[in-house]
Subunit: 340 residues, 2 copies
């Protein structure tokens, strides 16, 4: 393995000082075009790339963005990661990820990324101790929350308008004639769950429909919650006509329970989800849902983050709210109604 070249080697070969080489490589304007050309030709001839470790060290910039997610194997986050990656590469940054699952406490996961020297962080719907986030904010560490906001704290974030997403779904269900609509949603300590529930409430209120406690189930954003919640609904005296699942995972569980009980969708009960994860698109699932546009979320989050990093000022003034996108499929009985 031959020794790696340094800018000084390149400088010697080009007959200039190493600083000139450094300037050329950093697109510094104060180099004459002739020397620039000469240096570049040597650089290209030897396929030289500056040592990234040395660069990171002396500039104190790693060009790495840390992504903290609850679980990278969740397709929602995986899609988000793709968006982040694409944008990051545009600016010559890399993504290092850490799932909360892999370490006992979220704190540990965060430490892992900080210890690695990332230039900035994206928290994707992370349920992290607020005090830790506060500390980062106080140090004005570049930080963007994605799919979560932190009420009472100024912090850049990119979210989907969850309240509106819920309202769009409710409006759609109303439009199809449903009145008795139940909801199963995830934990309320995440702003996402809370806002979807809020949208549900406000929609009913506006429509003048009484809110029934029996029609509301709160649990986790998982399949089991959907399954258990639905079993409860099925046994009610007045069974709901439609079930609003807080996300697509919950909707999976809802479908499981309905199938098991021999109820057809949407014939007996309509179902809608949230997130538009790609199994929702499958012919046999065919779930009407709302897309949070996670790919864009990731890309926008990274864009904001990189700007914070490069301007070395983080004012935490960026609050992007994406418009949710209604994806109409058949689990809501859209085609059924249309046939009338």
């Amino acid at each position: 393995m031959k020794k790696k070249l340094t800018i000084r080697d390149i400088a010697n070969m080009a007959g200039v000082s190493h600083m000139t080489v450094s300037r050329v490589l950093n697109d510094d304007s104060r180099v004459s075009s002739e020397t620039r050309a000469r240096v570049l030709s040597v650089v290209r001839a030897h396929n030289f790339t500056p040592n990234p470790k040395a660069r990171a060290f002396s500039s104190n910039k790693s060009r790495i963005i840390g992504l903290l997610v609850s679980d990278i194997s969740n397709p929602f986050y995986a899609e988000l990661a793709r968006g982040m990656e694409e944008k990051a590469h545009e600016y010559d940054y890399n993504i290092m990820f850490c799932s909360e699952l892999s370490v006992d406490k979220e704190q540990e996961a965060l430490n892992f990324l900080l210890k690695a020297g990332v230039d900035g962080l994206v928290f994707a719907s992370v349920r992290l101790n607020d005090s830790r986030i506060e500390r980062l904010i106080k140090e004005s560490f570049p930080l963007v929350l994605v799919n979560r906001e932190l009420p009472g704290h100024a912090c850049d974030h990119v979210v989907c308008n969850n309240r509106k997403g819920a309202r769009i779904l409710m409006k759609h269900l109303f439009g199809l004639g449903y009145q008795r609509i139940a909801i199963i949603t995830g934990s309320s300590d995440l702003s996402t769950g809370l806002q979807r529930l809020e949208g549900y409430h406000s929609s009913l209120r506006e429509k003048g429909i009484a809110i029934k406690a029996d029609y509301i189930v709160q649990g986790a954003f998982d399949r089991e919650t959907g399954y258990n919640g639905t079993r409860r609904f099925i046994n009610l005296d007045e069974r709901p006509q439609a079930i609003f699942a807080g996300n697509d995972y919950i909707a999976m569980g809802v479908l499981d329970a309905l199938d098991e009980a021999g109820l057809t969708v949407p014939g007996d009960i309509a179902v809608v989800g949230f997130d538009n994860t790609h199994f929702a698109a499958h012919r046999r699932i065919n779930l009407t849902t709302v897309s949070q546009r996670q790919y864009e979320m990731g890309a926008i989050g990274v864009d904001i983050l990189i700007h914070s990093i490069e301007q070395a000022k983080t004012d935490y003034q960026h609050h992007v709210v994406l418009e949710p996108l209604l994806i109409i499929r058949e689990s809501c009985g859209h085609r059924l109604q249309a046939a009338h």
Copy 2:
């Protein structure tokens, strides 16, 4: 933002030289237990962590593993990434990923990771120019292939026994009484696809069943290939009794086409997949498939890689073959037969 402490600051406070601090932090044996304790107490009191950039620079080790995948949002790779992450964290390494999709050419994606100074690479079923891989091998750059082998080259790899996986599925189908079995598989320039096809062939041969060209479709590992292939099978004079889909994505397309044609699964045609991605588990899909244990694959791959990195000798002698795991669900008609 108060200035970051350095080992020299810690050294001053503890009344030792900075080298002693460095030794303590690196678990070097030649420090007396008293000084070690004294230094550690200062380190803890100030919550000191050594500057990762400086460390990477002077030791020329980034403690970062590069993961090159075709698409991180594909659940197969996402699951793999989880396994890698878990294992990497054990050894205090981080994972940096790069999808081939995000950059025009795979070459570019690889460059991105190399430019970032990763200590080693995991290639996950990457379709990369062999010459580039060869060059890495020649430089004895730590490298592990996952879910792909490189015939004719010594290179560490972790794969699933794809041939055997296919044979297990075939045997299962034979056991259920099926004889006319068709296959739809992905591109044959990936060892995975080739080996599954081989398993299909050899199973038929052993069973004494003639191989019909009409029953073999090759395309990509995607839904469309499954859909189109199935349409062809449906129109054959002698329709197959079972379809072996080269992976779960293809199986999705198969189901699409069958559902559309009004054929029931497994009543009219049985279907099996490959990979056990999590939508295969869904009640409405219920796909009999084979698990490649991607989580373990990732973990084992990283384990091998880190050992290569730390021993500074990469002999490329590690060839791990995981046993595939048959996951029996209902798309193969298992329950139907059992009722007899």
